[in-house]
Amino acid sequence: MTDRPIARLRGVSKLYGTTRALDDVSLEFAPGTIVGVLGPNGSGKTTLLGHLPGLLLPTSGTVETFGVPAARLGDAELARIGYVSQEPRLPEWMTVGETVEFVRAGRTRWDAALATRLLADFGLDPGRGVDALSPGLRQRLAILIAVAPRPDLLILDEPAASLDPVARHDFLRLLMELIQEEERTILISSHVLSDVEKVVDTVLLINGGQVHCHQPLDELRETYHRVDVTAVGADLPSPLPLPGLLTVTGDRRRAMAVCGHVPRHQVEAAARALGVEAKVRGLEFEEIYRLIATSDGRKV
């Protein structure tokens, strides 16, 4: 694995009229990482992903993909990218088979065996017209077209949004398979956190166009701790003297606190020193997401 990032954003801001979709974003994506891009609706995920292949150009700042400014990506670089958007537009007059052939004819790399297998796995009939496909089947075809060239950078913007549970399971299995190739970088945005959690090794949390967190998932899990405290005798002190205290909910007898950015043993020691009944455990991924997504821009 090389150290050179596969994509790099420096001070990127994007304005749509007066709306700031991205605000001074600086990031690097290392090769071989599987990044889950998360955030509430309208947080700037699609805008961020659109900048990497040069589909969107920044209002200010620079974006480089494969070491080339994204605005000037040539055939060689674009051929190394696979991209699936939320609502993929496909040539409506073609059949599924013709669409696959059309894309294959223009690609230098193409895994024919994978394409054939995915056609069967996804239940895509090569003779069926694209205009007759349901949104779910259309999404499956778009995924097939994006992964069959075995791209070095695979960008998936809400790829599973219109897939049924069975198709989503197949898709996740496919992702697991693609992950096996170490040099491939995958960026996947999704609202289905349980899916993301299964496949990603790094999490990028974005809200209001700003990056709130970009770190490995395991590291993120160790960053936050949930402390359930119950008073024994006297009421709980207020505020709770816990290190890295971020939020507290409850009353004077029972409370749930979240601490962050301190080692777990420090939190446990502080909880013991309170002389109360305390249980410390790591936060679930969904809880971490909620904590950051509802922080209104505060550093948590």
Binding site: L55, Y83, P91, W93, F102, A105, R107, D131, A142
Partner: protein, 471 residues
């Protein structure tokens, strides 16, 4: 893909549709060419006919390419831009050579020069391809191109005055223009800007007007942009007033009026652009059209009941009828069947009145032009501006039931159909009033209108009885 990099799929995209477009685009010019030659007539007409055929083929090819560029995988296809450039250069030269051959082979082409014809065909292909790729409404160009036949007599007059020969003799100028425009087209296709802008958008073709799914998707995409906060202030105020009245009517228990107001508001949004500069441009275009038409009709000296060209200015007054279709079907399913039908009938009556008001304003505008415009001298003749007689004033409201019938008979459940029908209907009605004495044409139009009203009402009532409602 061949060794030259020419891709058959790009060179002949959608061969079936191309064949249909070729048949349509070439049939009419062919008839013109044959008739012109049979009459020993104008080389200008041959020239015009051939270029019209070129335009139809160019637009068919380019609009399919536009759909391909907009498709999600295309942006990532290595070499696609280069192959598109090659395909267009091939088409431009092929059409140019074909046009030159027509001139060389067809007897009676007279003053036409093969090289000029080649240059003109290449120029036209490149120009139309650029327009079709760049304009969001480029899919309408094949339709608007038919209006190019309207000033045909002017081309004929040009030939009669001997100026056409001079135009043809400047072959180098045609070739230079062709090379320049083709280079511009190649540059546009080769650079990523166009591909970036079109990626993931819904690029329509003319035939999509008859495909409900595509048009509904297009309407949805357009509707995302419709917010009453955008565009000219008057547009927002008008919509706000309609929606406030709708809310008041609903609060008062008058659901029919509420639905009618809502449809009127939405129709207003759909038929007026949020771009502030569009309406002034359209207004200026209509004014230029009316002025040109008034003088043109004066020059015709034909025994007609009315000026033909100037009268077409009344077509602008059919705008409320266009809006009839714009939202009537798009947002009706969240009311009861009875309310839906009653609101639709009420809306029709009000739009007919609105059309009447627009016609009166047109008549007033034309009378004003006749009062202020001076006579002009053309080829030694003094021409007085001829304002079309105001029969259009009542022709337009008579079209309301016909537009409603078109909507009820529509082959597809999307709104543009009314607009497509209302325009030609006006031309037919206006033609009838111009060519046939009033005592015959007026009863005919009134009878057609009443019949249309009856049939449309029955069809719409049946539609509402069977419609799937969204609640």
């Amino acid at each position: 893909m061949s060794a030259m990099g020419l891709d058959r799929r790009l060179l002949m995209p959608r061969p079936g549709r191309l064949a249909v477009r070729l048949a349509l685009g070439v049939a009419m010019p062919l008839v013109v060419v044959v008739v012109t030659i049979a009459r020993g007539g104008s080389a200008a007409l041959v020239w015009f006919g051939v270029l019209f055929g070129v335009a139809q083929v160019s637009l068919a090819v380019t609009l399919t390419h536009k759909e391909l560029i907009a498709a999600a995988p295309s942006y990532f296809q290595p070499g696609l831009r280069r192959r598109l450039v090659l395909a267009h250069v091939t088409w431009a030269l092929g059409l140019g050579v074909a046009a030159a051959l027509v001139v060389a082979l067809v007897p009676g082409a007279g003053a036409l020069r093969a090289l000029s014809q080649l240059g003109a065909a290449v120029s036209l292909h490149a120009l139309l391809a650029l327009l079709a790729l760049r304009l969001s409404w480029g899919y309408q160009l094949p339709l608007w191109s038919w209006y190019a036949w309207m000033p045909l007599r002017a081309v004929d007059a040009l030939a009669a005055a001997g100026r056409f020969e001079a135009l043809q003799a400047a072959a180098w100028a045609w070739l230079a223009a062709g090379a320049l425009l083709l280079a511009l087209l190649a540059r546009t296709l080769a650079r990523p800007g166009l591909h970036r802008r079109l990626h993931g958008t819904l690029a329509l073709s003319l035939e999509d007007w008859l495909r409900p799914q595509r048009m509904q998707a297009y309407k949805r995409e357009c509707r995302r942009r419709f917010t009453h906060a955008r565009g000219a202030a008057w547009r927002g105020r008008l919509l706000g007033a309609q929606l406030r009245r709708a809310a008041r009517a609903r609060a008062a228990g008058d659901v029919v009026a509420a639905q009618r107001r809502r449809l009127l508001g939405l129709g207003l949004l759909a038929t007026t652009s949020e771009r502030v500069w569009v309406l002034p441009i359209i207004a200026a275009g209509m004014l230029a059209f009316a002025i040109f038409g008034g003088y043109f009709d004066a020059a015709q000296q034909r025994d007609r009941l009315d000026g033909w060209f100037g009268g077409l200015a009344y077509q602008a007054a059919t705008w409320p009828l266009w809006s009839l279709g714009a939202y009537v079907f798009a947002a009706t399913a969240d009311v009861s069947r009875r309310t839906g039908l009653r609101a639709e009938c009420g809306l029709l009556a009000r739009l007919a009145l609105l059309a009447l008001a627009a016609s009166l304003a047109t008549a007033l505008g034309l009378a004003l032009l006749a009062a202020v415009l001076p006579p002009i001298t053309r080829d030694g003749r003094v021409l007085e501006f001829v304002a079309a007689r105001p029969h259009g004033t009542w022709l337009v409201p008579l079209l309301a039931p016909l537009a409603w019938l078109a909507l009820a008979l529509r082959p597809t459940p999307h709104a543009s159909w009314t607009g497509i029908v209302a325009g030609p209907l006006f031309v037919l009605g206006h033609g009838l009033l111009t060519m046939v004495p009033y005592r015959q044409s007026v009863p005919l139009l009134v009878a057609a209108s009443l019949l249309a009203l009856l049939v449309a009402y029955r069809l719409r009532r049946r539609w509402w009885e069977r419609a799937d409602l969204g609640h």
